[in-house]
Amino acid sequence: MNSPHDPLLPEADDLFVRRTLVSHYQPPTDPSYWEQLESRVMARVRGDGSRDWSAWLSGWARYGLAAAAAAVIVIGVASWQTRAAQERLAVRELLDTPDEIPLLSEVVAPADRDRNKTLRYLLTH
């Protein structure tokens, strides 16, 4: 941990490293340099056409747009749910229809009735 150079004073070594780094990374001191950098930054900013589209909307317009989008989603979900409920109801109605199949009853036509009478008479006499 401590350097062999100054084992009793590691803080002094750290201070030296820090000072060396500060000197090494010293930013430009000329004010004109910063003015030019600002001009270059602003030239790029002013020439930029791809700003976030939402930047052109004011705060209220953004809230309005968000509310409208939320309303569309709510209406869509409600509509979907209504349709699904209607379909379920229709299927249930179809399945719940009572079996009203008419019972077969013997229907004897009048002509058959006379014939039967004749046959009964002949058989009994």
Partner: protein, 183 residues
Amino acid sequence: MGEVVDRSVEQGHVVAAQRGDPEAFACLVRLHQRRAYAVARAIVLTHEDAEDAVQEGFLHAYRALQRFIPDQAFGAWLHRIVANAALDITRRKKVRDADTLADTMASPFRDPAESDELRRRLDTALASLGDRQRSVIVLHDVEGFKHAEIGQMLGIPEGTARSDLHHARARLRQALSGIRSQL
């Protein structure tokens, strides 16, 4: 180095810039460009790359300004954007010219008082550090950022920033140990 920025004035500029006033954004550039340069310079290897990172960073910030909440600290938000721009440049450079590290380390804007031997030793020592360790020690020791702030900027946990600082310091201390007595 660090400029004292009046928060209410800054907030006013932010709100005006969000409404589309370019002059207000210019004021923000004026207030923050030195610190932004320092952040970028800690991450990239050359002054030129730091300039590019600053310009890219401000441009990204301008594009994303509507998403910034004025109650927050604009500087911290901007520094993260600039740091990302600088990291992108470092990654692109690494892919493009990985073998020209020694040349790129010799960048302009050096203190004339810095001796050639010290400069050479420091360049070698800095080159021997990983990108992240170098960024952490410069952001901490030169720019005075806290571990947590550095972690946020570089996208690493605070503990990692602390550990990187420790190792970077040990490496530089060792690399520069013999030269201190000669100066």
